[in-house]
Point group: C2
Chain length 334, copies 2
C-alpha cells in the first residue's frame, strides 16, 4: 500500500475538495491509502461516506492561504495540518504529501521538516506547465523554492527534473532548456554561463541550450531549468498574462452584441482551450530534492485536480523518484 498524506485544510475550498478528491482517488487506485490531516469535525461534515482506506489524522491547527512568514509559521504551529503531514513523511509513516495550501508554507515545511536529501544542495519546486501543444507539458525547475542561484544548483535541477520527467511523465529522453535572456551560449551572467557548461558536459542529459522566457509555454522543450528567482518571475508572468488576456477577451466579447454572438458560436473552442491549458489535469508542482515527494496542488483545485495531484504522488512513490534522485546525485560533481 502506498500511503499518501493529504492536507485537508489547504486550498480555497478546504476541506471539501480534499475529501472528495481523496474518495475519487481511492476509487481509481486500489493500491493507495489516504491520510487526511485536518480538523476531524470539519472533515466529517463534508464526508458523504467512510472508506476503509481513508483515515483522518486530527490536527487542531491550519495555515491560512495568505500565511505571512511561512518559515516561522512552520516552526511554531506544530499542530498545523501541513506540518503534521510533513512530519509523518519525514518519519516514513506516510510516503508522500499533497497540499493545496499556501505555496510558501509548503516549501518551508518540505525543506525544514521533510528535509533535503544529503545528495542534493537545494530543493526545487517543479510545476508541470501546460503548453499550446496539445498533450505536451513542460516542467519548470526551479519555480521558486531556492532564490539563491548557483551553477551547481541549476545543474542539479536539470538532473532531478530529468528523472522526474522520465519516471512520472513518461518522457523517454527529456529535452532540457536553460532559461536565459538570449539563446547564444555567451548570454546571461556567470550563473547562466557556468550552468550551461555543467549541463552540456553531462552526456546523460539531452540539453538543447539556452531558452528565452518567451518560449515558456510554446512546448519546445520538456524541461526549463532556472534559478528559483527567475523561474518564479517567468512562471507568474505567463500565468498573469494568460489570465489578463482571457479576462480582456471575455470583457470585450461581452461588451458588444456581435461579440456575444461570436462567443456563443465559439464557446466549444474556448472550452477546449481552457481544458488544454489547464495544468491541474497532470497534477501539481512537486518539491524535488527532499526525503519524500511533497506536491503542491493549485489553491483553487477542485476535487478532480486534487485527485490528479494524488495520482501524481502515487506515481512518484511507485517509480521511486526520490531513490533515483539520490542515486543519480551520489557523485555530485560528475
Amino acid at each position: 500500500m502506498i500511503k499518501i498524506g493529504l492536507d485537508a485544510m489547504g486550498g480555497d475550498f478546504a476541506p471539501e475538495t480534499a475529501v472528495q478528491g481523496a474518495l475519487l482517488a481511492l476509487e481509481e487506485f486500489s493500491d493507495i491509502e489516504i491520510y487526511l490531516y485536518g480538523q476531524e469535525e470539519k472533515i466529517l461534515e463534508c464526508m458523504p461516506k467512510s472508506h476503509d482506506r481513508l483515515k483522518i489524522v486530527h490536527c487542531s491547527d491550519a495555515f491560512p492561504m495568505d500565511v505571512k512568514e511561512p518559515a516561522q509559521a512552520v516552526r511554531s504551529q506544530k499542530d498545523a495540518s501541513m506540518v503534521r503531514a510533513c512530519q509523518d513523511a519525514k518519519t516514513g509513516d506516510i510516503d508522500a504529501v499533497v497540499s493545496a495550501g499556501a505555496t510558501g508554507a509548503l516549501i518551508a515545511a518540505g525543506t525544514l521538516i521533510v528535509r533535503r536529501l544529503k545528495e542534493v544542495d537545494r530543493p526545487a519546486l517543479a510545476p508541470v506547465m501546460p503548453t499550446i501543444k496539445k498533450g505536451k507539458y513542460t516542467i519548470l525547475c526551479d519555480a521558486g523554492a531556492t532564490s539563491e542561484g548557483k551553477p551547481q544548483y541549476l545543474y542539479q535541477n536539470a538532473k532531478i527534473a530529468s528523472i522526474y520527467a522520465k519516471e512520472v511523465l513518461g518522457v523517454k529522453s527529456p529535452k532540457i532548456g536553460l532559461l536565459n535572456i538570449g539563446t547564444e551560449e555567451s548570454k546571461g551572467g556567470e550563473l547562466q554561463q557556468e550552468a550551461f557548461k555543467l549541463i552540456s558536459a553531462d552526456a546523460s542529459l539531452d540539453f538543447v541550450g539556452n531558452i528565452e522566457s518567451k518560449s515558456m509555454i510554446s512546448g519546445e522543450v520538456d524541461i526549463i531549468v532556472a534559478d528559483g528567482y527567475a523561474g518564479n518571475i517567468a512562471m507568474k508572468a505567463v500565468e498573469g498574462a494568460a489570465s489578463s488576456i482571457f479576462k480582456l477577451l471575455k470583457q470585450e466579447l461581452m461588451g458588444s452584441l456581435l461579440g456575444k454572438i461570436g462567443a456563443v458560436f465559439a464557446s466549444g473552442v474556448f472550452k477546449s482551450i481552457k481544458g488544454h491549458m489547464d495544468a491541474s489535469s497532470v497534477g501539481g508542482a512537486i518539491l524535488l530534492g527532499i526525503n519524500a515527494p511533497v506536491i503542491k496542488a493549485h489553491g483553487s483545485s477542485d476535487s478532480r485536480a486534487m485527485m490528479n495531484a494524488i495520482r501524481q504522488a502515487r506515481e512518484t512513490v511507485k517509480q521511486d523518484v526520490t531513490g533515483k534522485i539520490k542515486t543519480a546525485l551520489q557523485s555530485k560533481n560528475t
Copy 2:
C-alpha cells in the same frame, strides 16, 4: 528645430518603413528635421518624394537583425548606420536616435557611443507596455540594458522612469512597483530588499511596494522597476505567452466550423483587442540614463509605428528628459 536621427537600415522592413515613417512624422510635426542614416541608394529607391527637412546621411554598413556579439560589432563596424547615428547624437549634431534594429546592438551603441550620464550608474531600457486597461500603459525599467543588479541601480531606475512617465507620458504622479517574487516587503533577496528601502525612503516617488510578475500587464502601476535580468525575463514571458495564446486561439477557431463562424462575428472584438494591446502606438523602448535619447522601435514596426517612435523622440527632447534626469540624480544618494 529638433534633429532626429533615424537608423534607416534597422528593422524587418528596412529601409522602407523608416522612410515612410519619417515622411509621416515630417507632415505631423513642423519643428523636426530627420536625418536618415543608411545606404543612400537603397533609401532613395523607396523614397517617393524629397522633403526639405529630410536629409540622408550615407553609411556603407548596417547591422543584421540577429547581430552576434553586439558590443564587438559596435566597436568594429564604424560605418554602420546605427553607429553613425549614435556618434552624431554624442557630439550633439542630432538630438535623438530612433532605430528598429537589433536591440542588443542598440543598447551597446547607446552605452558605448552616446555614453551614460555621469550622474547615472547604469543605463536602463524602458519599454512602454500596453495593459489590459484601455489607454493605460506601464513602463518597465530596466528591461535588459544592465544585467548586473544593485539596489542603487534599481533606485535610479525608479527615479529616471518616473521623470520619463511624467514628462513624456503625462502621468502626474506615476505609481511605482518593484518587481519581486511576492508582495511583502521581506520578499526577494538582498537586492530587492535594499532597493525597497531606498525607493520607499524617497518622498518624491509614489512607491506602492513590491509587485509580482503576474501583474505585468494588469495596469496596476505606471512603472515597474526591475533589474535588467528579471525585467527581461518577465517582459519576454508576457510577450511569449500573449503570442502563444493568440496563436492557439486562431488555430482552434479556424479548426472548427462553429469556431470560424464565431470568429467572423467576433472579428471586430479581436481587432480592437489587437489594437489596444499594440505598444507601438506609444512608440518604442527608450534607453535612459545616457547623453541623448535613444529609442528602440519594434523590429516589425510599420511606418506608423516608426512615426510614433519619432514622436516619442521629439517629445523626450522637447521636455528635456535627459537634462531633468541629470538634475534629479546630481546628488546620487539622496
